[in-house]
């Protein structure tokens, strides 16, 4: 058994996996609306339908929510893989998780800017997703240390 096999599973990756699962369901809900699987969104005080029916809710024929759902699935798979004994010290998975989460935060920041500055409406589910991806990004920060530690190890 190697050292990495015996290491405790990184809690941060567990957090990333669980948050990614939650984020997937949020994005899937918005995607279901975008694809016409249901008539309206449960939205509370925000203006989800204004946001979701705007021209910015799609990139070409692809709903933005579908891109989000796919992104969360990728992060979930990476985090679960990174929890397997043989991959707990994997630099590649650490790097991919960090890069994926950073990309997600940047994309989410762009969408939030569109809501505030261009569409002039906000959507509680989009805000929830933005919060989740930010938390995921914060949870991936220990990967920096993991990558550096591995590099410095003899």
């Amino acid at each position: 058994m190697t050292r990495s096999d015996r290491a405790d599973p990184p809690t941060s990756r567990m957090v990333v996996a669980i948050l990614s699962m939650v984020g997937f369901f949020v994005a899937f809900y918005l995607m279901a609306y975008s694809l016409g699987w249901m008539g309206s969104l449960i939205c509370g005080i925000s203006s989800c339908e204004t946001v979701q029916q705007s021209s910015y809710s799609k990139i070409g024929p692809v709903p933005v929510a579908a891109i989000g759902a796919a992104g969360y699935v990728v992060l979930l798979v990476l985090a679960v893989l990174g929890l397997q004994p043989a991959r707990r010290a994997s630099r590649a998975i650490g790097g991919l998780l960090l890069a994926g989460a950073a990309l997600g935060v940047a994309f989410s920041a762009y969408l939030t800017w569109l809501e505030v500055g261009v569409i002039h409406a906000w959507c509680i589910w989009c805000a929830t997703s933005a919060t989740i991806i930010t938390l995921i990004f914060l949870a991936t920060l220990p990967e920096v240390g993991r990558i550096r530690g591995r590099r410095e190890a003899p």
Partner: protein
Amino acid sequence: MSSRGEKRRAERDGAASTGSGASPMRKFYWALGLVAVVGVAVVGYAVGSKRLGRVATQPVNVPGLDDMTTLVKKAQGVTMGKPGAPATIAEFGDFMCPACRDFDLTVKPELIRQFVETGKAKYIWYDFPLVSIHPNSFVAARAARCAEDQGKFWQYQNVVYRNQARWDELKSPVAELLSYGDSVGADPGKFARCVRSDAHAGLVSAEMRLATDLGLNGTPTIMVSAGSGSMPRKLEQIDFASIKAELDSLLDSIPVKAGGGR
């Protein structure tokens, strides 16, 4: 003896280390599974509770249609061409009717080229689905009006007619009709929400009532009129030459105004 003790200790340490790794992972998988189950339940309920009602496939009761003014107001056909064109060609059609298909794919394009595009006439489509013999025609008519919401009626009508043999005998033609929305560039989500609902059921039903009140009993029925206030005339012959002759005659009968226009 001592070597056997060391071996036992090593086994115990191994078990402990395996245990320390397995236990948090087991808890993690339980937590992930719990989130998945709750997520499926919550999103499933949220989608299900806002799911659109049954797709309207049959005419609906529209109050007030006994009054002709209300009926004409509600039975708004789809118009192509200049609203002020001197002549009007009205078609009462059924998307499942093979004769309508042939008319719309052969005669209509020539009428449009020679009369609508030249500003001599406008073309109005009215839905008259013969639901007793064509069970899918009502939903097809609604789908076409959903396409009209996005300014794609005529393109959609063309695709639906061209593919008539593919959907007319299906038990549920909705998926097929939705795919034609994609082919004409309709927004898929908006189009699907419209088709998977009862949207435009009242409009199509009102046009069916208009057709019945006009005494029509078959499709396609072509009516022409010219000038303001003239009574539309139902044509018995609907080949291009006959309709052209009728329209030319009607246009010639309109008095020329002092300004030179009809």
